[in-house]
Symmetry: C2
Subunit: 200 residues, 2 copies
Amino acid sequence: MSFSPLIRQLIDALRILPGVGQKSAQRMALQMLERDRSGGMRLASALQQAMEGVGHCTQCRTLSEDALCPQCADPRRDDTVLCIVQSPMDVFAVDQTGFRGRYFVLKGHLSPLDGQGPEAIGIPALLARVEGAEALREVILATNPTVEGEATAHYISQLLIPRGLIVSRLAHGIPLGGELDLVDGGTLAHAFAGRKPMGG
Amino acid sequence: MSFSPLIRQLIDALRILPGVGQKSAQRMALQMLERDRSGGMRLASALQQAMEGVGHCTQCRTLSEDALCPQCADPRRDDTVLCIVQSPMDVFAVDQTGFRGRYFVLKGHLSPLDGQGPEAIGIPALLARVEGAEALREVILATNPTVEGEATAHYISQLLIPRGLIVSRLAHGIPLGGELDLVDGGTLAHAFAGRKPMGG
């Protein structure tokens, strides 16, 4: 079967959404056209406004159309702790844990082979942020647990430790609710090395 | 964590898509903003054009911005068979099977309690379509295998059989690739009643 050109164009455009393949895109397009055109129009205008209007927070560099994102603008957050992540999605994940300090969002990780040096990922802006933060005591490096994420964390720790800051890294270990025999060897080795005494 | 207003508005708007919950909507919004703003703008304009431009095919009433949809406009299709379905999504599903006749799309099924009578679902337009189709010999009723779909099929058959048309209904039976003990009793009873002799 073939769709008319406007429907085909909509199906193709929907496929840029993460996790949406040909079949879901068709269902989305036809269902909106059949049942919710006003919702479709609202989505079109929300998309346009966000794509054109959203920039980056001047302080933590997460996505925001205001100069300060809601996290940076909140006076009740703890100014003594700064959590460094690789993307705005990570800010959301970390905030879900109950963390209520400040954030700084890198633009990805160091990757010299791809031309992603310290400037490209925003290290100068991070240093400026750290220097302007008088109350800051601890920096938590929450980059991804990958080779590149570890290298990026190591690079940043070398810059910040000499400034007298406590620099910490998220713990590695077995994830909750999993089964031990499904955990990979490297993670299990980390979990052994980082074992904790149990209270009596 | 809270998102800035434009991002929140985009996340809410994305949730009208079928199968998209809060979490997927967040991932979609942030990922588009981070990595594919031009894709997001393309999607916004495709949505707007489709919501404003797409109407219904004048002949089969499926979704189309042209007066005739690609199926109705195709001169190579078989004019002797007409398949009646409940929605444009069903046209796609039936066409996947290799069917190459014509279609007519009802607006849902008969549901007198909800005020969905024959006019509301498009029976007068169906009769006009059938009367205008000189080559037509067989009508296949492919409404959903639900109580309402069966009732709608029965109602239409009563209108069309007196006009000398062959009226058929899709076969009920066990779906391919399933396990017999997982098939519900009604379906299994239909499969027994409709059993076929095997060639020697």
